[in-house]
Amino acid sequence: MQLLSWSYAAFFVLVFSLYWIVPEGRARKALLVAATLVWFCFGVWWHAVAATLMGTTSYWTARWIASRPPERRGVPTLVGVSLPVCYFLFFRHLAQWSGFDLQHADLLPWWVPNPVFAPVGLSFIMFETIAIQADLYFGKLERPGSWWSHMVFTLYFPTRLIGPLRRYQSFVPQVGVQPRPTPEMIARGLSRVGVGLLKKVVIANPIGTFALFNMRPEMMLEGASAVPLLLGLYGYWFFLYFDFAGYSDIVIGTSRLLGIEVPENFNSPFRATNVSEYWQRWHMSLSFWVRDYIYTPVAIAWRRSSWGAPGGAFLSMVVLGLWHGVELRYVAFGVFHGTWLAGYMLYRDRLRRRPGVKRLASRPITRAVGWATTLNLAILSHVFYATPSFDVAMLWVRTVLHALAGG
């Protein structure tokens, strides 16, 4: 069931009505869990089973970690973090490993588990359950709540398709505690959904039609002009932003209708004046996850080396790239941003401390140059997303360079 569909709208209206009818507390958590399982079954029924399994396993490993004294939590945490990764790899590559013929997926009866499609929101479940285990290990979370609390956090259907990634500590205390909806809650929720629809349907879709048309390999011919290709890529970035931000707004707004605040995903990324700020404004819930659970532990582990922090940033960006898929183009995206971010951190920590450089960096013209450079490089790096493969991305680069050079 897609987020932007009539069946989802009807389903949400039903869940919304029931949510405010049933008593506060566990009953509402149970309702949201049940609703999510029904929502999974609308797509592929066995995904509900897979998600329940992932949630329950994560609950037991979280309890195992919490039952140990802090100094003896290493092994259970390792198990707790490894299991979601194993589930992710297993389900993501199930079709490949089972040797299933993709051509004949349609011929399977409905009750046979179809391995072609991985469970919806698989990577989100992985990231969020890893965060619980890591927070217990680092002492950011005292102990896991009930099975219902754990399951409502793991499964919560509005965030399963496109996020944003949530934290257990801030999410669970909000579920089922509001006695009744208030007009302000409804107004804030509906207005956010409206803004999201506007971004997605009115802005993103038309830009996307134009951008995707211009980014087809057919446009990258020898002797082609750079203008449509550049317009295509710049259009693609804005399409991606409005599309993703629009969906995020819809999720945030629908959650507000249930009295639950979920994290923001975007904060005007086009206003960033450097790459570090860019990642604090673009897909924030993912970049903050990467910061807290990859960058920070790596930077702490390598703290004796002056390359620790930049190395951690580089590694984090490569992982962030790989999250989108194990493909060369995503690796290239991660390496590009990792190098850029590590380079910026080295500049910030070493060069910018010098009085002359610091003075220069604070000037408006320098900030304007930083803004233009950040925005343009961020957009250009999306050539790896806007094209179907690394080879086509390179073809785009060659064609544009050739055209700009007057060839």
Partner: protein, 399 residues
């Protein structure tokens, strides 16, 4: 806090009440109703264009819904005299004016020949052998007088299998219109929308029938001739002609415009490798051929005659730029005869492609207005001849 600020804060705190929310909802409904009424003339114009073959589907890049569903929404009397044409971008006619596409010119030719018939352009950019299946399925409850299906030979050469793309919401609406007998045929072929897809399609149809803006949205985003891109290319040429841009911007390399290929690809401008026709084998692809047979089976089950037509390929273009290999040419000839032989054996009717002049093509297969006119005449003559003129073109109910 000053008294004024405190009063403002109190007012802001009490700004949202249930009655204010209800008033706002009422106002929004009113605005939607007014917007819907204002779109009525546009819809009337679109319906007229649809039946003269001039209305093209919205760009089929998976974002905007197409307009094929309009096949279901008009009067039975008019639809049952119509010819529906299904195919790829060659039939769709990107870059051509609405009256210059193949379906529009076929409508004009039939009218000029004394057999005026509505012609519906059901083609889609990126359309493949499977594109015709949902349209043929919809004929079960919404028959037309004739279904014309494009055959682009390179699709039918045996190649590496690829995953079947999911059905679009537009496809599902058409599949849901299938008759019970057709549903059995579709189920045997493994085409069965899931329960959630069926619910979504049913709800979408309901909304579509009551909300005009939703019904027309595919066509009001961009006009079907990809104007933004076309506009940029035209502007660029004009600016180059006036000397505001360097001369090299005058030409075009992707030929989104309408120049015959020999005029479009000049100087160092060459087509890319994707303009090459690829015939990895001389054997017929059984999966793709089965789509063609399925289309015919569905149309026959609906009592609608179906005629396939082979699209002409621009082999001069392939030779001029050394795109196809000698093996490809040999495979093409073999494939053409294998396909014709198999179709004849299975009783499927196909009109062979005519020979088009050089300036009939924009590129490897897309047609110029002249090319579309010649092909439309060729199709019109063959259709009238094959179906014994008037009788075969009568609505199914009158046969």
């Amino acid at each position: 806090m000053s008294e004024r600020n405190a009063r403002a804060a109190t007012l802001a705190g009490s700004a949202w009440t249930w009655s204010r929310l209800a008033r706002l909802a009422g106002l929004m409904l009113l605005m939607f109703a007014v917007a819907d009424l204002a779109l009525a003339p546009l819809e009337r114009r679109m319906e007229e264009e649809a039946w003269s073959g001039q209305l093209q589907n919205a760009p089929g890049l998976g974002i905007a819904d197409a307009t094929r569903f309009m096949l279901l929404g008009t009067s039975a009397l008019r639809r049952e005299t119509a010819v529906a044409v299904v195919g790829s971008s060659v039939t769709f006619g990107p870059g051509l004016a609405p009256g210059e596409t193949l379906p529009a010119q076929l409508a004009s030719w039939l009218a000029a020949a004394g057999h005026p018939r509505p012609v519906f352009n059901c083609a889609q950019p990126g359309g493949d052998p499977r594109t015709a299946v949902p349209v043929a399925a919809a004929l079960g409850t919404h028959p037309v007088s004739l279904l014309l299906v494009e055959v682009l030979l390179p699709y039918y050469a045996e190649h590496k299998p690829a995953p079947v793309p999911p059905l679009s919401s537009d496809d599902i609406v058409l599949l849901e219109a299938a008759s019970p007998a057709q549903r059995e045929i579709l189920a045997r072929a493994g085409i069965h929308p899931t329960a959630s897809e069926r619910i979504e399609a049913a709800m979408g149809s309901q909304v579509r029938s009551t909300w005009r803006l939703y019904r027309l949205r595919g066509s009001v985003w961009w006009d079907p001739a990809f104007t933004p891109t076309y506009l940029i290319w035209s502007l660029r040429r004009e600016l180059a002609t006036s000397g505001l841009l360097p001369k090299r911007f005058h030409g075009q390399s992707t030929n989104v415009g309408r120049l015959p290929w020999r005029e479009a690809y000049v100087g160092d401008q060459r087509p890319g490798v994707n303009q090459r026709f690829d015939f990895p084998s001389d054997r017929l692809s059984s999966d793709d051929y089965s789509e063609l047979r399925l289309t015919a089976e569905l149309a026959r089950s609906a009592g609608v005659p179906v005629v396939f037509f082979e699209l002409p390929l621009n082999l001069a273009f392939q030779r001029a730029f050394h795109l196809m290999s000698e093996d490809d040419y040999a495979h093409l000839d073999q494939l053409r005869s294998s396909l014709a032989e198999r179709m004849e054996r299975e009783g499927l009717d196909m009109i062979p492609a005519p020979t088009l002049p050089d300036d009939g093509f924009l590129d490897r297969a897309h047609l110029t207005p002249l090319g579309a006119r010649i092909l439309a005449k060729h199709l019109g003559e063959a259709v009238l001849q094959r179906l014994s003129g008037q009788e075969a073109l009568d609505p199914p109910g009158q046969r």
